[in-house]
Symmetry: C2
Subunit: 421 residues, 2 copies
């Protein structure tokens, strides 16, 4: 397709999305849930077609030399299809946030004022490789009453189109417009450029993928973006910490899973307890194969710790590597975190009331935790049921973004003829 | 200043703002209120200096040929200084939203989870002519715990700098950092370009002014923008309307004030009641000098109505002009509004439950009203105490934006050693 053709195509996708968003906005919970379950049934009935489409993508991926990690993310199998179906059922079971009216009360003028939770409208999702994101994202957007435009990676185009077919037939059988969820049918990058600038037809963009994708989308978008950049998470072991809790939390936060955004990447320890707690922790890390890079004071305590560079303090390793800094106390810990953190999730281990209180007030991150592992910061653990991502932005939605983050609130006024004096 | 010097200067402003935002974030309500009252006292004690600075701006404005409306907006006088002082006292009296923790509850893992309302951090305000915006904006940002960078119009530079002096001395006397509120000291446009792209130091931009300013800021900003574009507000008189209420509301919404964003610009009337209600309304509009532009059906009812062009349906007149369309009923009314409206405020006049309900659900605007004038859509009438603007965006803050719109929520987790299984 030429650039003009892509522009025309994307505009038509946008117009159809806007139109179906009006239908979704007034669709009741039962109708949306029926559609989610119909999509699940449609997926279940199309297992053979889905695996066949996916094997085309896998073959081409191997030809194009995709590495094993990418091929693994691209692959669909019976278990992953089960997961997609289970996910749809779970989203159908979630409470629908749309339509809730809060704080309805009278004003001196006699008008009655409240706020109604409403869908955002049209949500554009830009994502890479994993085809199950097509279902995850579509189901959350559908449940929250939004039309969706999905733009997956070129490596998954056959899988995504096959899933799109199941979604369309599920929507149709429930009586909702098929283009309530559209999967962009071109892999041309110009389609992304159109999607993120069609302010008339798209209300918000959620990019899901690597940092370079998200930075590019954010830089070029004219549509608002809900984004997740780094997860450079910290644990601070205060001098008033229960050291047993501290060891368990610092172990879990680092080693429970390495490649996740809520893993601890940097450990801060108050100077007065460092000589006691660091050797105990280092023993665990060494056994588990975690490389330790520390400040000079940390290196002086243990020879197993190599010298950290300035760059280490900002790094999201997503790997068995940990940076360790000995700090004088809570002031320096908070200052370090607010300077180097990516504002995702930070935890303090302390038994002291005032230090815990200061930490949650003064640390400027989307999740602030006292005496628990950073690994809790996700939509399932927070009870959101599912998440479209974890926002490191400050406006609109901060931290794990579930159904509510895909909605807005409008003001509702009831009167009986009031005019302004 | 050269472009490099401006960049360096703006970076230093940003760094100072970020630093003082940490102090403001942990400042209690009493401290912030003391600062607001100290600023009020400082303004009160500097009346002569403020008027002298303003007369420099007024003289230069006259030399540069500013029109009377702009000169009027630029002018400070005793009454307007009283207004600034009163505004500061009112903001001091508002409830502080910062620190509120909501929905604190236990999760199955044993962690206790809630959300804490926190300042956004650093807010950049870009505005034109009216120097009292300096105080309005600074006071709301200060009360909500945010540091502020203010960039006023070049025509008001002396007035704004004089007000900035009062703010700084008020902050200092209350024991808060003087650079918690900074007024940019250069009128070079490049300073705006820096301000709206310093994502490390600025969390949100609020442009206040004409449409061209707001469009330019939105187009070039990398920092999120809370913006107010048009107010093309509609009143729809349904065939089930109480026509007495309808006439009162359609009169008030159009003629109470012409130059405001929540004035009605377009009137929709159900066909079956048009012949009855339109002549009565037209009589009022004609007496008040309101020009009427209508669809063919409206023109057929009354010769005083001239033919509207397609452009009229999208126009925010901010003047005694009204477009009038006869629609077949509520379906066409909702469709017309969702197509042409700027998503600011729309009102339906009806006695019918289902139509009222459909209107508030299906009309995609920041305020939806049943049986009251569109003129109620503002921060004072909604009880927000004051407003930084009326957002026509859908994400973060929609409609009148008060203190809460200048805050965010972070997740707070309390544990006693929980780790992820």
């Amino acid at each position: 397709m030429s650039h003009t053709e892509i522009k025309t195509y994307m505009q038509s996708v946008g117009i159809a999305a806007r139109k179906s968003s009006r239908v979704l906005a007034r669709a009741g919970s039962a109708l949306k849930n029926n559609a989610l379950l119909a999509i699940a049934a449609s997926i279940d009935g199309a297992r053979i077609e889905l695996l066949a489409a996916n094997s085309l993508d896998m073959d081409r991926g191997r030809e194009n030399g995709l590495d094993d990690a990418l091929l693994d993310r691209l692959e669909l199998n019976a278990e992953r299809i089960d997961g997609m179906i289970e996910g749809l059922k779970q989203v159908a079971a979630l409470q629908d946030p749309v339509g809730e009216i809060t704080d309805m009360g009278y004003r001196p003028s006699g008008i009655q004022l409240g706020q109604m939770r409403v869908p955002l409208g049209v949500i554009g999702i830009i994502y890479e490789s994993r085809p199950n994101v097509t279902i995850d994202a579509a189901s959350l957007c559908l449940k929250s009453g939004n039309a969706t435009i999905l733009r997956g990676g070129s490596e998954a185009i056959n899988s995504n189109q096959a899933i799109a077919g199941c979604i369309a037939s599920g929507l149709a059988s429930a009586g909702l417009p098929e283009d309530a969820v559209q999967v962009v049918n071109t892999t041309d990058r110009a389609a992304v450029g159109e999607l993120i600038t069609m302010t008339d037809y798209v209300d918000v963009i959620v990019p899901r993928g690597g940092k370079s994708l998200i930075e590019r989308v954010s830089a070029e978008a004219r549509v608002p973006v809900i984004k997740h950049l780094d997860g450079n998470c910290h644990v601070y072991i205060d001098d008033c910490a229960d050291l047993k809790k501290a060891v368990a939390i610092a172990d879990n936060a680092k080693t429970h899973r390495y490649g996740v955004c809520n893993a601890m990447e940097s450990l801060l320890i108050a100077e007065s307890v460092a000589a006691k707690v660091l050797p105990e922790l280092a023993k665990i890390y060494t056994e588990k194969g975690v490389e330790m890079r520390g400040c000079e004071k940390a290196c002086a305590i243990l020879s197993a710790i190599t010298k950290a560079s300035e760059h280490d303090w900002s790094e999201e390793y997503l790997a068995p590597i940990l940076s360790i800094k000995i700090v004088s106390g809570i002031d320096q810990a908070i200052e370090h975190i607010n300077h180097y953190s990516s504002q995702h999730t930070e935890s303090i281990v302390t038994e002291d009331f005032n230090r815990g209180r200061r930490f949650i007030v003064e640390v400027d991150s989307s999740s602030v935790i006292i005496n628990a592992s950073t690994r809790f910061a996700d939509g399932f653990e927070y009870g959101l049921g599912a998440e479209i991502g974890i926002s490191t932005d400050k406006i609109h939605a901060r931290g794990p973004v579930g159904l509510e983050g895909l909605t807005s609130q409008k003001w509702v006024v009831f009167g009986d003829g009031q005019i302004r004096q």
